[in-house]
């Protein structure tokens, strides 16, 4: 019984002492902290300058950050406006282009129905099909499948006439177009041959040579093989002289 009571007594005293020490310690700590300004000032003086510097630096950085943010927002706004303007311009430009090409297609159709295939082909070759819709493309393909062949034929005959008349400049223009429009027709090698000769007659020997060589290369079985070789030898002779 003595041991047990003694134990409880000691522990109670220890608990009370602990409580008193902790509460007293707290108040002493608070009073020391509050009442000794020299100590706290000493600590703060050492740290104060550093803290103030850091605060100043922090404020400067925050100001700089805010300025940069404002600048960024301004630039973003400008960029958005510019982007909007560009996209509007681009869209308007594209709209204009589409309208222009549709007009050309309509003109080509009009000439096609009037059997003016050369004019029709001239319009068709300036059309950018990527700007057309499905229906426009279909119409273009329909017109192109006939108009280019017919125009090439017409231009070949017209060019040949001009060549025979001695109007080589006109002949060159027409024959070249004829060849550009159709390269697989029965008269395509004829066009190239007469084009080469028209260049020769017009004094454009280099172009004449190029055209003659192209004729021999692209149409090896042409009936104008002999004529082309003669033309080439004539050009060579002229060049040597």
């Amino acid at each position: 019984m003595v041991k047990r009571e003694e134990h409880i007594r000691r522990y109670s005293i220890a608990l009370v002492i602990t409580f008193v020490v902790s509460v007293g310690g707290y108040f002493i700590y608070r009073s020391l902290y509050d009442r000794i300004p020299a100590y706290s000032n000493k600590v703060s003086n050492e740290e104060q300058t550093k803290i103030e510097d850091l605060i100043r630096e922090n404020n400067n950085l925050m100001d700089e950050n805010n300025n940069l943010k404002e600048q960024l927002a301004e630039k973003e706004k400008q960029f958005q406006q510019e982007l909007e303007r560009l996209s509007n311009d681009e869209m308007n430009k594209q709209k204009e282009q589409i309208a222009e090409h549709m007009d050309k297609l309509m003109e080509a159709q009009k000439h096609f129905y009037a059997r003016q295939y050369v004019q029709c082909a001239e319009y068709l070759e300036t059309i950018d099909t990527s700007l057309l819709g499905d229906k426009g493309k279909n119409l273009y393909d329909q017109l192109a499948s006939t108009a280019f062949a017919k125009a090439a034929q017409e231009l070949y005959y017209a060019g040949n006439n001009e060549f025979n008349k001695g109007n080589y400049q006109n002949a060159i223009h027409k024959l070249k177009k004829s060849y550009d429009y159709q390269k697989t027709q029965y008269f395509s090698d004829d066009s190239l041959y007469f084009l080469a000769y028209a260049y020769y007659k017009n004094g454009e020997y280099e172009k004449a040579k190029e055209t003659a060589l192209k004729l021999l290369q692209d149409y090896p079985d042409t009936t104008y093989k002999k004529g082309a070789n003669i033309l080439l030898s004539k050009i060579d002779n002229n060049n040597q002289q």
Partner: protein, 150 residues
């Protein structure tokens, strides 16, 4: 007195560890006070817990003996004989666990570490399991003593 000195030394150890971890004398001192204070509470509770368990066991034995004698003879067991039964062990366990719980509670209050809540819960569960073990142990010892004295 020895148990109190052990508790004080443990509290000093706790203060040292706290100072190493936090590098703050204020927190280290508070941890020591908490540890010692809670340890004291544990040391105060321990004798009451022991006497409560002991009385419960002895009353149970007396009731059993009464029923064996068909209520004709009432046996009285001297409770003071078992007053010191595993007394120090109980006090050491209680004061140590309570001291650790106190330190954990302090750190929970300061740092709000979620894991410390589970640690505190773990200590309480440990204390509960220890009580079950302690109950069985002193019951066994009392029985053995009674049998030896027959």
């Amino acid at each position: 007195m020895m148990l109190l000195i052990v508790l004080f030394l443990s509290a000093l150890l706790v203060a040292g560890v706290s100072w190493i971890i936090t590098k703050s004398l204020v927190i280290a001192g508070t941890a020591m006070v908490f540890s010692f204070g809670f340890g004291c509470i544990g040391g105060l509770i321990a004798p009451y817990v022991q006497s409560w368990l002991r009385n419960k066991i002895i009353d149970g034995i007396e009731l059993t003996l009464l029923s064996v004698a068909d209520g004709r003879k009432k046996y009285k067991i001297n409770k003071q004989r078992y007053e010191d039964l595993h007394f120090e062990q109980n006090v050491i366990v209680f004061q140590s666990v309570l001291a650790l719980i106190g330190v954990c509670m302090l750190f929970v209050t300061i740092y709000k570490y979620l894991v410390l809540y589970f640690v505190i819960l773990g200590f309480f569960i440990f204390l509960l399991l220890y009580l079950v073990y302690y109950y069985k142990m002193i019951k066994n010892d009392i029985y053995n003593d009674l049998i030896n004295r027959l």
